[in-house]
């Protein structure tokens, strides 16, 4: 283990992580509806800290209610949320695990609007609806942009006050930052649209605002798309940002004083290429119903999931580009290109599970660290398993993505019953373990 590149510390400018393994952002709907936290979230994050992960990037943490992707996610939109997050940080730190809050804004990609947002349109760079679910939106005014920039700065301040070890700006996967960055989405004609430097303006303004708010000595990383592949689902959509454009944005982000980059792909979430793996249409049939009233195309999607005869249509679209993509390390090559062009550490997400592969991408200079979610849900102690010298756990993640689809409606966990030997009760027990220990006993 002493020579294992996976278990070498990773030093950012303002943060050192004990190994090269990060838990990437993922969450279930187990906080209070109003965004205040619960014991379940503390339990959830602590599971991974206990399992040996070097750092946890939180779930999607909205900086404002209009930027929430769905209710029951803990938020950082007000100072009264700080004590809860302080408690999460305390619990995670017990295991020498760093805690990075992912500051987020959904923009138009607001999967379940909730009662607070149900009667308004989402804020975005554009008036054009999201292509997958048909989520309606309106282009932000300059005042709204200014206010949103400040929301991020306030969020960063609160994160620091809560004791977080850093913040990550979620500028990938089709959320608000992507909606500004991507040429496939941003159709503005003002100084926030058009040329790349205009499209990057909003992100760079947020970084600057955060630095003004929290100073230069607080860890700030940006999660960013190496490529958008905005047309991966529907071929008639625009392709979005290229790798070259992303490299340029990453350079600007570095210049703007970011401490690290978290490279991903895909201008929507979920995207056919990330999270990699299968698409469980049966689970989509069961749980997508909660989203159908949120988007104008959602009924069509629901029909595609619901009727067996129609499922092949959706799967053909969804899977059509997968044959050219690996399941693990889906965008390691692109991350390497970015890494070549920046001097800050680059971490990478995309189906990492196999120890040998992780070791390879780190030792061969593709990336400085990897982030993972689904393999960790399947095996919370995956870092310890890897540390023990095994490349795969006994019951590895199958990349079935049942966890992903269940997250819309159910407690997050591994829902692949095959991993429990077909024992559904055992699966439920494992999923429900997040509710232990109880807050009140």
């Amino acid at each position: 283990m002493a020579d294992d590149p996976i278990f070498q510390p990773l030093r950012f400018r303002n943060l050192t992580v004990k190994n090269r393994l990060f838990r990437s952002s993922i969450s279930g709907r187990w906080d209070n509806y109003d965004g205040s936290g619960t014991q379940a979230r503390i339990n959830w994050e602590t599971k991974f800290a206990r399992g040996g992960i070097g750092a946890i990037i939180t779930s999607f943490v909205p900086v404002h209610i209009r930027g929430r992707i769905m209710p029951n996610y803990a938020m950082i939109d007000a100072d009264d949320k700080i004590p809860f997050w302080r408690e999460v940080v305390r619990s995670v730190h017990e295991y020498d695990c760093r805690f990075i809050m992912q500051l987020s804004h959904s923009g138009r990609q607001r999967d379940v609007p909730g009662i607070e947002n149900f009667m308004n349109k989402a804020l975005s760079s554009t008036n054009k609806m999201d292509g997958f679910h048909g989520l309606l939106c309106q282009a932000m005014t300059r005042d709204e942009i200014t206010q949103t920039v400040q929301h991020f700065a306030d969020g960063a301040r609160r994160a620091r006050e809560a004791g977080c070890d850093g913040v990550e700006l979620h500028a990938s996967h089709g959320y608000l930052f992507t909606q500004f960055l991507s040429s496939g989405i941003n159709d503005r004609t003002d100084e926030y649209g058009g040329p790349l430097e205009n499209r990057a303006r909003f992100l760079l303004e947020v970084i600057a605002a955060i630095r003004r708010e929290v100073g230069r000595d607080f860890h700030l990383q940006v999660k960013i798309n190496a490529v958008d592949n905005n047309n991966a689902l529907y071929p008639w959509e625009k392709k979005g940002n290229t790798l070259e454009e992303s490299i340029q944005v990453c350079k600007w982000v570095e210049e703007a004083s970011a401490d690290g980059l978290h490279v991903s792909i895909g201008s929507l979430f979920p995207h056919p290429q990330l999270p990699s793996g299968g698409f469980p249409v049966d689970e989509a049939n069961w749980w997508y119903g909660g989203m159908v009233s949120g988007g104008v195309r959602a009924y069509l999607n629901y029909a595609l999931f619901h009727y067996k005869l129609l499922r092949p249509i959706f799967l053909a679209l969804w899977n059509r580009t997968k044959k050219d993509m690996p399941v693990e390390a889906v965008c390691a090559a692109e991350a390497r290109e970015i890494k070549k062009n920046v001097s800050i550490p680059v971490i990478n997400t995309g189906g990492y599970q196999n120890g040998a592969l992780i070791r390879k991408v780190i030792s061969e200079g593709y990336v400085d660290g990897v982030t993972m979610a689904r393999p960790l849900i399947a095996n919370n102690d995956l870092p310890k398993i890897l540390a023990a010298g095994r490349d795969l756990p006994e019951r590895p993640c199958s990349f079935c993505n049942r966890c992903l689809v269940n997250a819309i409606a159910n407690p997050l966990g591994c829902y692949d019953v095959r991993r429990y030997g077909g024992d559904r009760d055992a699966m439920i027990r494992e999923v429900m373990s997040v509710f232990h220990p109880r807050q009140y006993v």
Binding site: G277, G278, P280, D282, K322, K323, M325, V327, S398, F399
Partner: protein, 523 residues
Amino acid sequence: MGEIKTRTKDRILVDEVHESPVDRWLFRLRKILLLALIALVILVVVGRLAWRFLGDRPATYSAIEDHFKYGSIGSEPGGSLRAAVGGVLPPYWIFKALPKICPDLLPGGYASLGLIFEKGHDLPIGVSKRFRLGFEQVGLNCAVCHTGTYRASPQSEPRIVLGMPAHGLDLQGFFNFISACTLDQRFTADNVIGRVQEAGGRLGFFDRLLYRAQLVPRTQAATLVQRNRVGVLLGDQAMQWGAGRVDTFNPYKALQFNWRLQDLPRDELFAASDYPSLWNQRPREGMELHWDGNNDSLDERNLSASLGAGVTPVTIDHPALARVKQWTLTLPPPEYPFTIDADLATRGETLYRAHCVRCHADARFRTAGVVEPGWQVGRVVPLADIGTDAGRWKSYTFLFASNQYSLYPDSTYRFTHFRKTAGYANHPLDGIWVRAPYLHNGSVPTLADLLEPAEARPKAFYRGYDVYDPVKVGFRTDVAEEGGRKYFRYDTTLPGNGNGGHLYGVKLPQADKKAIVEYMKRL
């Protein structure tokens, strides 16, 4: 439980597809709904097809006169789709298109065959329409042989008289034309469909398909079958019926009983006879009906006559026929429309009573059906006594009567009254003025001629012309052609056309004969 495979660059991910109880319930429901929908669709399709192909919907008429002229008595093809029976005409649209397909075979159209057209009707009187076997069919009804016209002069409009013998109808020519045209090389599916559409028939894709696959070949096959059976009676070599005559029983032998006519004694085949009138049927009940008096039941006579129109025991429309029968029971003959010399007629009445009334009743029969006791009206007179041409008498045989008893088995319609008689029956003479020409075979053109000895009667004359001759009382017989329509030259020397016999009153003085003829205008 199904399976989903996701193909990636480095592996194929396999996942199971699960079903919840709700999924299974919904699947079952949808399966039931789908099956129900399929069943419904099948039901609708089958129902539609059944409505089309099993439906039997005659064109109906509320007025009895229209029913008589155009209503169906069931003579259209029917029975089974695979092997239709009955009918002597092709389907409606083909029937309409035939004169356009073979214009050279019938330049004057159906009217040139003596079929009578009225304004507002696309079919002639006596041709009915009925939806059967998936198509509009046409058939013959009573009116085709029992409706005629007369004119006062060539310039007059024809007066149509219902129940009158169709003295202008060339039925043999009609069948010859249909036979020739449907077997003509121009009778192809393309041509038929084209002409039908020209004639106003709207044929959809399905219809056109059926015309090609079924209707056109079936029509030709039906013609071939008919020609095979009755060919001996058609064509140039057969006895020429001419206008106003039909060979009643020989086609019957072939079409109903599949007799091989060519095997029959040849002298059975010269039997063409005039159509009788249809009026005043009630007082005729019990009389020996048909020219040879072979049946004394009105119902059996009517039923048997309808068989000649193409009806079969399977296809007959009994209620429709009964409606016609009911109407004919009291249908009055037409009044003589020209001047009658009252004094002469009164004198003629006395002579008529002396020489004719015993066999033919008098003018009271017209209005009250009077037949006095002791009269022999409607009774068979032995051939040796009456002496008229034997052809018609010979055509009706004992063997044929026996076969007739096999029709309508196990039903109340079964024939029981047919018999072979010894001669020809006399008949009441109501409306006799418009029943020319006279004698059973129409061999004597006028009443005046009939009162002449056989040798003095016209040897040859034209028949079918409808301008009236009020002097000799009958139709004019000296017109060979008018307006392109040719009339039939009747040659009394040919077999079956003999004009001898019925020599009653021929020796009376001419003045008496004239008086009798004048009186007969009142009958």
